[in-house]
């Protein structure tokens, strides 16, 4: 496996070295050039001054002057030498005229030895009138250690940098590799079918943790969809099989007994009704599946839910009158939310339909909408019927759940699941409460249906199901 950590570390070390060199090179250059130039200038000035002495007081005068200067010097800081036209020393502290100095005036650097010691001399030669020559110079060998130290320092810096970089790369690689290894093993386990596995998160909140968190949420959603597909197939097996079996036996009996035309047509009508019933269940399941996957949020608009409720109440009013049930809408003013008016209408319709079914003769059904303190909307339908026993409440919104009391009434048992799915799609919740007596079903919907996180949708939903695969 090629390691990106190594490549990256090598790249950064290289970059750091380049930066170091870019920093050191001008420094070195400045030192060399400026100091040398300066030194040459000082020497040149000295030579000029000595030349003036020569002009004023002649060879002997200059020779005396030089001797005096040399005598005053504590260390042999300044090299001075006055030579006659045959380059024989007249005065000065250099033992002999150096052999490799060119005849022309100028600044020269030579290596020689003085009193048995190595010396690097910078010399300025000036040619005086009468063939006399003058050398003014300085021993720069004592600056050598400084230059050496500079180079050593630079080399050490490069060395430390490379070493630290290499060690760092190894450590980082090892740390990342071990975490990637666990992620890989988990992923492999999931590939092998264990969908309950999750990536370990270290709560440090770094990039890998964020990634692991996102992947875990994705896995939650996948697991939910996966379970949804299974639930839908279970539901289909359970609830579609029964009416299909009835239909089959009805048709088979018809084929076997061959009754008269009157009875045959009756049976055919009944068979068509059976098929319609199956289709209803099927459509309701598909709609639920669609909503559970959260795909239906495309129809969301800013809507006044009190209008939706008022229209739904108006729609069911004649049916309530027929059953002598009092259906009331307590309107607390406009209630604007972001949602799908069609789905909300269907959900409220289902709740009203249920309430009318169970309210009993001369009962009351109250529909209410109000804005809560936190800005969310509370839509409720309360009836005066027998209610749902507390023990059954958690299961009431489950798919195909039908209370003991409702076995005789028609319906496909998907009503409350649909209401719950609609509430969840809007980021809300369906709550079943005791109306003493009766049932109070309420949907709590946030004003802004902020995109519900998928994990939020999946959590603890008793009736979650869904199924992309059904399409």
């Amino acid at each position: 496996m090629r390691s990106s950590a190594y490549t990256l570390a090598a790249g950064y070390i290289g970059l750091a070295i380049v930066a170091l060199v870019l920093f050191a090179a001008p420094l070195w250059y400045a030192w060399q050039v400026t100091i040398n130039d300066n030194r040459a200038e000082v020497l040149q000035q000295d030579a000029t001054r000595l030349g003036t002495v020569f002009e004023r007081s002649g060879v002997m005068g200059l020779a005396d002057f030089i001797r005096e200067r040399v005598g005053l010097q504590i260390v042999e800081e300044r090299m001075l030498l006055l030579a006659d036209p045959q380059l024989k020393p007249v005065a000065g502290n250099l033992p002999a005229w150096p052999a490799d100095i060119p005849a022309a005036a100028g600044t020269y650097t030579i290596k020689t030895s003085l009193n048995g010691k190595r010396a690097d001399l910078v010399l300025v030669r000036s040619n005086l009138p009468g063939g006399y020559s003058l050398l003014v110079g300085r021993d720069v060998s004592r600056f050598q250690p400084l230059a050496r130290r500079f180079w050593y320092g630079l080399a050490a810096a490069v060395g430390i940098l490379s070493l630290a970089g290499a060690v760092g790369a190894v450590l980082i690689r090892r740390a990342i590799l071990s975490r990637i290894q666990t992620i890989r093993q988990t992923a492999l386990a999931i590939v092998q079918g264990d969908l309950s596995r999750r990536l370990p998160a270290q709560r440090s909140g770094d990039e890998l943790d964020t990634l692991a968190g996102t992947i875990n949420r994705m896995l939650d959603q996948i697991e939910q969809l996966f379970r949804g597909v299974r639930d839908v197939s279970d539901s289909i097996a359970h609830d579609l099989r029964t009416p299909l079996a009835e239909l089959r036996s009805r048709l088979e009996e018809l084929a076997l007994t061959r009754p008269g035309p009157e009875r045959t047509f009756e049976e055919i009508d009944a068979a068509v009704a059976d098929v319609d019933h199956v289709m209803r269940i099927f459509n309701a399941l598909l709609r639920l599946a669609e909503m559970d996957t959260g795909l239906r949020r495309s129809g969301f608009v800013e809507t006044d839910v009190s209008t939706t409720l008022a229209e739904a109440v108006e729609f069911y009013l004649p049916a309530a009158e027929l059953k002598e049930v009092q259906l009331l809408y307590r309107d607390h003013g406009p209630l604007s939310i972001t949602g799908d008016p069609l789905l909300l209408a269907q959900a409220i319709g289902n709740l009203i339909d249920n309430a009318l079914k169970y309210a009993g003769e001369r009962g009351t059904v109250i529909v209410e909408s109000e804005r809560l303190a936190d800005g969310s909307a509370l839509l409720s339908v309360s009836d005066s019927g027998p209610g749902i026993p507390d023990a059954e409440k958690p299961r009431a919104a489950e798919r195909f759940y039908r209370g003991e009391a409702s076995r005789v009434s028609p319906g496909v048992g998907l009503g409350l699941s649909l209401v719950q799915a609609v509430a969840k799609l809007h980021g809300g919740q369906l709550e079943l409460l005791d109306n003493r007596p009766g049932l109070r079903a309420q949907m709590r919907i946030p004003a802004m249906a902020v995109t519900v996180s998928m994990s939020g949708l999946s959590s603890e939903a008793p009736a979650r199901v869904s199924a992309v695969a059904v399409y």
Binding site: N283, G299, P318, G349
Partner: protein
């Protein structure tokens, strides 16, 4: 009335063609998109019944878009196995006039085809509708039968208006739900029937000849005919 059916399923096609013939309509049939587009573009039809998914390189929505682009305004009823509300909206947006999901009752199909032809004959600019001695004024929103004034709730008026616009035609419960209440879902109970019977009590009193009839296994029809 002359119709075109574009549908690739043989059983469904035969069932629909037979039913249309019994209802007194003549119908051409194309079993793929290419032939369907050719017929729809070259022959004058009163209504086209179009399946969405078709073999032959071009699907139902493609044909509709092509026809509308060419300026053909023939009313089109889309048949589809896609029940999704969003799919329905897509179908209507592409230029279809009505949308019916499979499987469907033939009565539903026939009622919708009839409704579409009525629409194509045009009813804009009408300010009053009459069926027998029942009359509604669309501007003042008043309904009368002979000399008797009928008091109607706004929704009841809308229901009656729809029935009168489709007088002498079968109107199904789903059509009423969609057009009067704008509900595109199954409300599970027979609420529409209750609304219609309430309306019937108001327009057909015991002494009068009944105008609003129930058509078995299909829906309702408002008619002054015997």
């Amino acid at each position: 009335m002359k119709l075109l059916l574009v549908e690739d399923n043989e059983r469904v096609s035969q069932f629909v063609l037979k039913g249309l013939a019994e209802a007194g309509h003549t119908a051409d049939h194309a079993d793929n998109g290419r032939d369907g587009l050719f017929l729809a573009a070259s022959e004058p039809y009163d209504v086209i019944v179009m399946d969405r998914m078709l073999p032959g390189g071009i699907d139902g929505l493609g044909i509709i878009a092509a026809l509308r682009k060419a300026g053909k305004q023939t009313p089109i009823l889309i048949l589809s196995a896609l029940t999704d509300v969003d799919e329905r909206i897509r179908g209507l947006k592409s230029g279809g006039d009505d949308y019916l999901t499979k499987p469907f009752a033939f009565g539903e199909l026939l009622a919708r085809v009839d409704a579409l032809t009525r629409r194509s004959q045009g009813s804009t600019g009408v300010t009053a509708l009459e069926v027998g001695d029942l009359r509604i004024d669309l501007l003042s929103r008043r309904a009368t039968r002979a000399a008797r004034t009928i008091t109607l709730q706004p929704r009841e008026f809308k229901l009656l208006e729809y029935l009168m616009r489709h007088a002498d035609q079968v109107v199904t419960r789903t059509m009423l739900l969609e057009n009067v209440w704008d509900y595109h879902f199954d409300p599970q109970t027979n609420v529409v029937d209750v609304h219609v019977s309430k309306l019937r009590q108001k327009i057909d009193t015991a002494a009068e000849r009944p105008l609003l009839r129930t058509v078995r296994n299909a829906g309702y029809m408002l008619t002054a005919q015997e």
